[in-house]
C-alpha cells in the first residue's frame, strides 16, 4: 500500500536525518521501525504524512504520490492516515470529547465545526471510538486530567475518528510504563487485525518481537535492516545499535 522510494531528508541546519531510504509496506502489516535515538525514525514517519517535506525521493500511497500532492490533495490524503505521538499531543485544556472529535475535522462541514457545532452522529462516533479504547466514561473530562496511558488512548481514539487505512505511531509508548505499553500496543494490534496498516517506531526489542510483523532498522538515517524480528541476531543487533549496546540488549530482550 505504501512505497517509500529513495527518500532523503536534510534539515535546514544541515543535519542529514534520512539517507536514500526505500522500502515497501504491504496492506495489513504491523511494521516496526527501530534504531538509536537520532537515527531518523521520527523524521521517516513524519515524511509519510508530510508533517516534514522530504528533500529527495517519493512516497506513494496506493500509487498516489504523496510527495507531489498540493495542499488540498494532501489534506485529503492525511485524512486517511492516523497519527499517534509519543507526547500524545492532545489539546490539554480541551475536553476529551473535543480532542476526539477534532480527528474528524477533515470530514465534517467546515462552517459548523468552526463554531464548535458537531452533529449527533459525530458525537456518537466519538463515544464509540472512546469505547473501543475503554474510556467512554472520560468523554467530559479535561484532557490534562487524564493519566498518560489514558491520554494515549484518547490519541488513538482521535486517530480512529479519521477512519484511517494507515496509522503512524511515533514511539507511542516511550512515555509509559511497561504494563501500560502493552495495553496501548494491544489496542494498536487489535486495530491492525481489523485491517488497519500500522507503522510504529519502538525502542524496546521485546516489544518489537511481540508485535511486529516486520521490522525496518535505521542507523544514522540509513536503512540497515529490513526483515522479521526473529532475523535480528547478535550480529545484526550490533550493526543496528553499535558495539556498546550489548549489555542493554541482554536486559531488554
Amino acid at each position: 500500500m505504501l512505497r517509500i522510494q529513495n527518500v532523503s531528508k536534510t534539515y535546514p541546519n544541515g543535519t542529514q536525518a534520512l539517507k536514500n531510504v526505500s522500502f515497501d509496506v504491504k496492506d495489513g502489516e504491523f511494521l516496526v521501525v527501530i534504531g538509536l535515538s537520532g537515527s531518523g525514525k521520527s523524521t521517516l514517519l513524519r515524511c509519510i504524512n508530510r508533517l516534514i517535506d522530504p528533500t529527495e525521493g517519493q512516497i506513494f500511497l496506493d500509487d498516489v504520490d504523496i510527495t507531489a500532492a498540493p495542499p488540498a490533495k494532501l489534506r485529503q490524503i492525511r485524512r486517511k492516515i492516523g497519527m499517534v505521538f509519543q507526547q500524545f499531543n492532545l489539546v490539554k485544556r480541551s475536553s476529551v470529547m473535543t480532542n476526539v472529535l477534532s480527528g474528524r475535522l477533515g470530514y465534517v462541514n467546515p462552517w459548523t465545526s468552526l463554531i464548535g457545532l458537531w452533529s449527533a452522529d459525530e458525537k456518537k462516533r466519538a463515544i464509540e471510538a472512546l469505547g473501543r479504547v475503554g474510556i467512554a466514561d472520560k468523554a467530559g473530562a479535561r484532557a490534562d486530567a487524564l493519566s498518560g496511558g489514558q491520554q494515549q488512548r484518547v490519541g488513538i481514539a482521535r486517530a480512529l475518528m479519521q477512519e484511517p487505512n494507515l496509522i503512524l505511531a511515533d514511539e507511542p509508548v516511550a512515555s509509559l510504563d511497561p504494563v501500560l505499553s502493552h495495553s496501548i500496543l494491544q489496542y494498536l494490534e487489535q486495530l491492525n487485525k481489523e485491517g488497519i496498516t500500522v507503522i510504529c517506531s519502538l525502542h524496546f526489542l521485546d516489544l518489537v518481537h511481540r508485535y511486529a510483523t516486520r521490522v525496518v532498522a535505521l542507523k544514522d538515517g540509513i536503512k540497515v535492516f529490513e526483515g522479521s524480528a526473529q532475523e535480528i541476531d547478535r550480529a545484526r543487533f550490533k550493526e543496528i545499535y553499535g558495539e556498546e549496546a550489548q549489555e542493554v540488549r541482554a536486559a531488554s530482550v
Partner: protein
C-alpha cells in the same frame, strides 16, 4: 593597561557628575521648597482628606430686628424678648461707622450663622458668616456701614439665618458628578479595550511566527504586522490623544480612539507572543488529521491561547482606566477632565473626591485583574 582603566573610570565618573549637575539645573531642583511650602501643602492635604461626598438637608430659621442708622432716623425695635431665639445688639441704634456687638441667644445649636442686612429697598447684603455654639449662642462685632442708612423713616433690618443640617446624609452633587465621570472613564477604557481586542486578536495570529512565517508571502505578512505593532507602540497614549483631539475635537471620543490604537499595538504584541508560546504538538496532531489551517487554529491554537488572551484583556482594561484618566486631564473627558476642572477652580474638596474615586477604582481594577489572572492559570 592599568593607567588606561584608571583614565576610563575617571572619565565615566566625570561624565556622571556632569550629567547630574545638568539635570539638577534643568529641573530647577529646590528641595528646601518641599519644607518651606509645607503650610500650603497642609491645607491642600486637609482638603483632599475631607472629600466632598455627602450632604444633608439644611433647615433655615431666620430671626431679625430693626436697626436704625443713624439713630432717630426711624423707630428702633420696640421691646426685645428675653427668652426664645433672639438677637441682642449692644446698642439699639448706631451712627454710620460705629461698631457694636451683636449677640444671639437660644438659636439652633451647632449651626452655621449668616448675618446680613436687609436694606429698606429689599436688597440684602451679607455681613459675615459664623457658627453657633452648643447652647445656640454667638457673638460678633458688626460695623454700621453708611449704605445701611434708613430711608423714608424705614430702618434696615439685621437678619440672622441659622442653617442646621437635618435628616440623613446623602450623596453630594459632587459625588454624583464624580461617579458619572468615573463611569465615562471606565467605559471609555472598556470600549477601547473591546474594539482593540477584536482587531488585535486576528492580527496577532498574522504576527505569530509559528502560524504565519511560511514561505515568502507569509514572511512578508509576518514582518509587516510586527512592524506596524512596533511603530504604533512607539507612540505614547498622551501624544496619540492630542493627535486625535486635533482631528476629532476634544471629548471622550478622541481619547477612546487614541487608547484603542495604542491598545491594538500592545495587545497585538502580547497576543502574538502568547500564540508563539503554544505547545506545537497539538497543532501538528491536527495538521496530521487533514484539518484545514483555519481549523487547526480553531481547535489546536485557540484553546491554548484563550485564557492568556483573557488575562491580557483584563490587564489592559486596568491599564486603560489609568491612561484614560490622564488623557481626560488634557481634555479627553471623564474623571481626568473633571479633576482638571476642579483643580482650575481651586475646588480642593471636590478634587479630593475625584482623586479618591480614581484611587479606589484603580485599586479595584488592579485587584480584579490580578484575581482573573490567578483563576485562569
Amino acid at each position: 593597561m592599568k593607567t588606561s582603566r584608571l583614565f576610563r573610570n575617571a572619565l565615566i565618573t566625570t561624565l556622571v557628575i556632569a550629567a547630574f549637575v545638568v539635570s539638577y539645573n534643568v529641573t530647577d531642583a529646590d528641595f528646601g521648597k518641599l519644607f518651606r511650602n509645607l503650610p500650603n501643602g497642609q491645607k491642600l492635604i486637609t482638603d483632599f482628606l475631607t472629600p466632598d461626598v455627602v450632604t444633608r438637608d439644611v433647615e433655615t430659621r431666620t430671626v431679625s430686628i430693626a436697626f436704625p442708622v443713624p439713630c432717630d432716623s426711624a423707630p428702633a425695635e420696640a421691646d426685645l424678648p428675653d427668652n426664645g431665639p433672639r438677637l441682642v445688639p449692644s446698642v439699639n441704634c448706631a451712627n454710620p461707622l460705629e461698631k457694636f456687638t451683636l449677640e444671639g441667644f437660644d438659636l439652633e445649636p451647632d449651626s452655621e450663622v449668616v448675618i446680613r442686612w436687609k436694606l429698606p429697598d429689599e436688597r440684602t447684603m451679607t455681613a459675615i458668616r459664623t457658627n453657633t455654639d452648643a447652647e445656640g449662642y454667638f457673638t460678633f462685632e458688626v460695623e454700621a456701614r453708611p449704605i445701611i442708612a434708613s430711608a423714608n423713616g424705614v430702618a434696615s433690618r439685621l437678619e440672622v439665618d441659622t442653617l442646621t443640617p437635618v435628616g440623613k446624609f446623602k450623596p453630594s452633587p459632587t459625588l454624583k458628578e464624580v461617579l458619572d465621570a468615573m463611569f465615562v472613564t471606565i467605559f471609555m477604557a472598556l470600549l477601547s479595550t473591546t474594539i482593540a481586542t477584536f482587531i488585535a486578536a486576528p492580527l496577532s495570529f498574522l504576527a505569530a511566527s509559528n502560524i504565519t512565517r511560511r514561505g515568502l508571502i507569509g514572511s512578508a505578512v509576518y514582518y509587516l504586522m510586527r512592524f506596524i505593532f512596533n511603530v504604533l507602540r512607539a507612540y505614547d497614549p498622551l501624544s496619540m490623544a492630542l493627535l486625535f483631539a486635533f482631528w476629532l475635537t476634544f471629548g471622550p471620543f478622541p481619547g477612546a480612539m487614541a487608547l484603542t490604537v495604542v491598545t491594538i499595538a500592545s495587545l497585538g504584541k502580547l497576543f502574538s507572543e502568547a500564540v508563539e508560546n503554544i505547545d506545537p504538538g497539538p497543532v501538528e496532531a491536527l495538521q496530521a488529521t487533514g484539518a484545514s489551517p483555519i481549523h487547526v487554529v480553531r481547535y489546536g491554537v485557540l484553546p491554548q491561547v484563550v485564557p492568556d488572551f483573557i488575562s491580557y484583556i483584563v490587564y489592559h482594561w486596568d491599564i486603560n482606566v489609568r491612561i484614560s484618566t490622564i488623557i481626560g486631564f488634557v481634555g479627553g473627558g471623564g474623571i481626568g477632565y473633571l479633576l482638571n476642572l476642579y483643580i482650575n477652580d481651586f475646588k480642593w474638596n471636590q478634587a479630593g473626591t475625584a482623586i479618591w474615586a480614581i484611587v479606589i477604582v484603580v485599586w479595584a481594577m488592579d485587584f480584579l485583574s490580578a484575581e482573573v489572572r490567578k483563576r485562569l492559570t
